[in-house]
């Protein structure tokens, strides 16, 4: 089933992405007219991640984690929600926040990068990373197109 999804998904994904993101953009344009440029950019960034998570669907751990993070209203999008470790969606071992200092190896760095990657083992982390990269690149492509069409 995964194989089939991969062949059809990119276009579906991009369409969903475009739908959500453009809708959010329009909404932002309409509603927020007096905020600063920086806040606006933050809002747009959150909208981008939200639309990405929505387009990815709830099947992915990272999209669930991302939406959870967004819903919590954390100001920093890449912040580590402290409560998340107890609510890991993966059934594998949970990484305990041990006080001992460990040299951050690459897997840890990747875990911090990918939303929801804290509580995953390496194999599922890689899987989520792959999907996350796909959606991220689609989002970037979409935003580039939007900017390009706006400025042209």
């Amino acid at each position: 089933m995964n194989r089939k999804h991969r062949t059809k998904n990119p276009n579906n994904n991009k369409l969903m992405l475009a739908f959500h993101f453009l809708r959010a953009l329009a909404r932002i344009n309409k509603s927020t007219s007096t905020v600063s440029s920086y806040q606006r950019s933050c809002i747009i960034k959150r909208a981008a991640y939200a639309s990405m998570a929505h387009a990815a669907g709830p099947r992915r751990a990272w999209s669930r984690a991302l939406l959870y993070r967004l819903r919590r209203g954390s100001s920093r999008l890449h912040a580590l929600p402290a409560i998340r470790r107890t609510r890991s969606f993966s059934h594998k071992r949970v990484k305990v926040a041990s006080p001992k200092l460990r040299e951050p190896n690459q897997a840890d760095v990747l875990r911090r990068l990918v939303p929801g990657g804290e509580a995953m083992e390496l194999s599922s982390l890689l899987k989520e990373t792959a999907h996350y990269i796909q959606c991220l690149s689609a989002q970037v492509w979409l935003m580039q197109n939007v900017v390009g069409s706006i400025t042209s």
Binding site: K8, P10, K14, L15, N29, S37, I133, V147, S149
Partner: protein
Amino acid sequence: MEMNANDKFGMEKRSGVHLNHHISVVSADCQFGTPSVGAVPANPAIAMSQGVSMSSSSSPSVPGADYFGPGLWSHPANPQSLGFGNAQTNTGASSSIPIGKPVAVSSRGMFLQAIPGVLPPNLSHFRADSAFIERAARFSCFNGGNFSGMMNPFGPSESLTPHSNASRGVTGTQGHKSELNMTEVPRDITAPTDHGSSSGSPLKNQRDKGSSLVGGLSNVPREANFTEVDQEKSTELANAAGNSSSSDLGSKKRKRSNQDMELDQVQRGTQLSLENTKDNAEAKQNLEQNSSKPDGKQAKDRTEGSKEDYIHVRARRGQATNSHSLAERVRREKISERMKYLQDLVPGCSKVTGKAVMLDEIINYVQSLQRQVEFLSMKLATVNPRVDVNIEGLLSKDLFQFRGGSSSMIGFSPNMIHPQLHPSQQGLVQAGISGMGSPSDAVRRAMNAQLTVMNGFKEPTPQMPNVWDDELHNVMQLSYGINPPLNTKELNGKSRDGFPI
């Protein structure tokens, strides 16, 4: 005579080999002939008949035997079995064979249920005794039980529990490392898998063990192979968990029983030395080894998408066969497969080899993508104020771009888009749209018309506003062009899962 379970086992072991061979052969034959569940009861009857013929003294007084008796004798008139029993009578069993007695047929499930609890401890002790009849009967019953389990590979719950009990019983009694490996390997392997807790692997374990035990009886006296078996015994038992499909299992069993038959004929005269459980365990492992040889040097079989949810692994030739190392190898191979997939995703990583470097590249790529998103959002924020009309133009542009790729979705019928919307509402929605007073309404409607004409959809666009709030109506009009080609399943799935849309 008074016989408890242990007694029976001791007795069985002495005369065990001959009977074991015969039983294995017969069971193999029966297996070949009628691989249906219905054939399973034949086996116990056959074995029972043979056992009766073989053993010097019958054990009718044993309550367990009596318990099994009715069910076992349910298929008395089996010419094959009778012929076998008569032909292979080695010990001058004077006891007449009450084979043909059509005792009341007990439900197969009855003795099958009873068997696993009783049988497994007995399997390891092959001592020829008068109680061997019951021993063999139980054994074949266990085998039959296993067959039934094998016949229903996809109904693990009902057939698993007796088999798992059996396996646990076996491991408990024998306490062999190999046995433990055999049952632990699927646990180790399945634990790291992402699949749900299917019982496919233990079920396969049971199947293999049953079949292996059948053949193992015949292979007991082969001491020569024990040394090599020792090294590979855990492998083979792990291989038991490595069966990936029932068909493979069936073929393996057939091969095994072929081998067993050959062995039987060769070694009929040399089977006497069954002293302890060690032989039995080794025989089992030997059998596994033999059985694995024909299918033997298969590479690791990944059946992630197969009917069973477990990933069955076979230890490769010359590799460590510890259960932990097997599971570790599964994990490592999974990781390497995913790294390869990531290598395709990340541009410019085709030449990079090695996990560490790849991980570095992946991390860099993810970071760069995130930074790009941030940068573009900042750009959008600055550019956005004069975007009101541009977004619609952008939408149409996007739609043009998407059209090439989403031509498959354009075929979606409008009714598929939002099942929750009643088609009768479309007229209302359309009226609602026209009634909306938005500044660029004219533009939007023009665009809508344009888009609908382009897409060939006449209706679907008005469906949306019914769903969305009023404040989103303007936005929805923007998205009309995109909605029809959307994958409706995804959209519906998303809206139903509680995520705020």
